[in-house]
């Protein structure tokens, strides 16, 4: 039950927090100003991403501990780690698509689509990247999700960097 609440509701927080990180620079004027500065925008992005990740982890930890406080009976570490992996993966996917297409709308859309599809097809197509594995008491998928999330976030920075060089 707790796994269901965390995976099906709380994990969305990753999309809300992580996806719009590059949005400010979608405006060409702002982008030009920022790119001309001495401090590399990539550095700024890394800081932003770290802050977002800390925010996501603390919100989820707070939520899970509130559940425990309200007489929940489950191991918190597993649940927090699992939910964070799902949230980061969803956020990372959205972020990557958003930086690739330079359109935050598509970023949101793809991560939500992934979420809805996975919920409907119950991991038939996503296999090791199944978002709701804690509900089946399996944590193996969460490691894959976490690695995929890290890769996606790095890739989205890479896309931005390549675009900046080519510009």
């Amino acid at each position: 039950m707790a796994a269901r609440i965390c995976e099906q509701f709380v994990a969305i927080i990753g999309v809300v927090i992580l996806v719009p990180i590059f949005t400010t620079e979608e405006d060409e004027n702002i982008k030009e100003t920022i790119n001309a500065k001495v401090i590399s925008p990539i550095f700024v992005y890394i800081i932003r991403i770290l802050i977002s990740i800390i925010l996501i982890v603390s919100i989820i930890a707070l939520f899970v501990n509130t559940l425990i406080y309200l007489d929940g009976t489950f191991t918190s570490g597993r649940l927090i780690m699992g939910t964070v992996s799902s949230a980061l993966f969803l956020g990372g996917l959205g972020l990557f698509v958003a930086s690739l297409t330079q359109n935050v709308g598509i970023g949101y859309m793809i991560s939500i689509v992934y979420f809805v599809f996975d919920m409907m097809t119950k991991g038939k197509y996503t296999k090791n990247l199944f978002l709701f594995s804690l509900m089946n008491n399996s944590i193996k998928e969460k490691y894959y999700l976490f690695v995929a999330a890290v890769v996606l976030i790095i890739l989205s920075l890479l896309v931005y960097w390549i675009r900046k060089i080519n510009a």
């Binding site: 719009p20 297409t101 359109n103 935050v104 859309m109 939500i112 689509v113 599809f117 409907m120 097809t121």
Partner: protein
């Protein structure tokens, strides 16, 4: 106005997000609707398009094939319900956990000592045996030997006891009024199967039944994903710095909004119409083999009447929120709306006014559909009204924005800069 509409249509058609939207719709169609109707192929034995065959000895057939010739259904049969539900309760009692499904979510309920005792009492009262006797019967798989008298008086007192148990365990346990019914199973008779078949083939002309299932699944797409398209499309003005140029044009706000809104609606209905065409073609190709007549326009009729109001409401609300705040707030709002509508978990027959998508997850049950068609009509009218209200408000907002009366975005970005300034000041002090 028509020129403007065409321009908006081509603009939208060329945008990436619209193409992504079409891909999602098609993917959803193939994974949900298409995989669901595969079983209806007349080559399969249980296909609804094949006339049910008459079997004389149903019980014998059941023993041989482990199923009834025309399937089975739930009915309130006291003997079965009393016996099966008490067995279930006894097993749950021994396990120490009880299942409940509040708000469609599964919940494992553990009872404290006092309540466990109450459940024990209820068990003993219904079966007329002590717990030790029950344990013996359960071990030897002789549960059927318990003599349950099923006179109507006993059954009503049984129901009262079960209600008590349900109150102890919590909302929507296995023993709630609705869930008790599931313990009674009886075979579907030939006459009933024949009526279902005739309803689908003759009254529904096959496609009407399929179209309801089609709308059920595609409604899930239409209740959420259009908002992304709307958000990107409306925000484009801001992104490409066209805001001021458009604002200062002579064209009226009403024209601007209406052409944009209608372009969004028509363009997003295009994939639905295409898929409706594909589905019609599919059904026609199946039914031609069986020499059955088909209603060619059913999918289109249902798409317009059933899906379009959902799309209209989502688009109007999304457009309004994006115009007003120029942020992505419309997306979380729509997600919450969509989730609250879908998480009720009722697959058939929920049509109250909060229901953005109407679900009807079956190709049968024509009678049920006919009985609620008026409520569905009211629901759809309600959403059309909502979208009209939001479109009119959007026109008003755009008007105010053009004359510079509101700029929500600037206002609260200013608020944040002030906030930052205050923060800095307090630090330097």
């Amino acid at each position: 106005m028509f020129n403007l509409f065409l321009k908006e249509c081509t603009q939208l058609g060329k945008s990436l997000i619209y193409i992504v939207f079409i891909c999602i719709t098609i993917a959803f169609y193939t994974t949900q609707y298409f995989s669901d109707i595969k079983g209806n192929d007349p080559r399969n034995s249980g296909s609804p398009l094949i006339k049910p065959s008459y079997v004389q000895d149903v019980e014998k057939y059941n023993k041989e094939n482990d199923m009834y010739p025309c399937g089975s259904t739930n009915e309130e049969i006291p003997e079965q319900i009393i016996s099966k539900s008490t067995l279930m309760m006894y097993e749950e009692h021994m396990k120490g956990t009880y299942s409940a499904y509040p708000h469609g979510l599964f919940k494992n309920v553990k009872l404290d000592k006092e309540n466990t005792k109450k459940i024990e009492e209820i068990l003993c009262k219904i079966t007329g045996k002590s717990l030790i006797e029950l344990e013996k019967l359960h071990k030897n798989v002789n549960w059927n030997e318990i003599h349950f008298s099923s006179s109507s008086k006993d059954y009503s007192s049984f129901k009262k006891l079960m209600e008590k148990a349900n109150n102890i365990i919590g909302e929507q346990s296995n023993y709630s009024k609705e869930n008790l019914r599931r313990f009674g199973v009886r075979p579907i008779t030939y006459e009933e199967a024949m009526k279902t078949y005739k309803d689908l083939i003759e009254k529904d002309k096959i496609t009407n039944g399929f179209a309801r299932l089609f709308c059920d699944y595609m409604g899930i797409v239409m209740g959420l994903f259009p908002v992304f398209v709307v958000f990107s499309f409306i925000r484009k003005d801001r992104k490409s710095n066209m805001k001021q140029v458009i604002y200062s044009r002579r064209v009226s706000s009403a024209k601007l909004i209406l052409s944009r809104y209608s372009a969004l609606i028509i363009m997003m209905m295009v994939p639905i119409f295409l898929l409706a065409g594909v589905s019609t073609f599919q059904v026609v190709s199946i039914s031609e083999k069986l020499n059955l007549t088909v209603d060619y326009f059913a999918f289109f009729k249902y798409s317009i009447g059933w899906l379009m109001p959902t799309l209209m409401a989502v688009t109007a609300v999304g457009m309004f929120l994006t115009l007003l705040t120029e942020t992505a707030i419309a997306i979380p709002v729509q997600m919450i709306w969509w989730y609250s509508s879908i998480s009720k978990g009722v697959l058939i027959g929920n049509y109250d006014l909060s229901q953005l998508m109407i679900r009807f997850n079956t190709i049968y049950d024509r009678d049920e559909f006919v009985s609620i068609i008026y409520n569905i009509f009211l629901n759809r009218m309600f959403f059309i009204l909502i979208s009209a209200i939001f479109v009119v408000t959007s026109i008003y907002i755009l008007n105010l924005k053009r004359i510079g009366r509101i700029d929500f975005y600037d206002k609260y970005s200013k608020y944040f800069t002030n906030f930052k300034g205050k923060f800095k000041n307090s630090l330097s002090k």
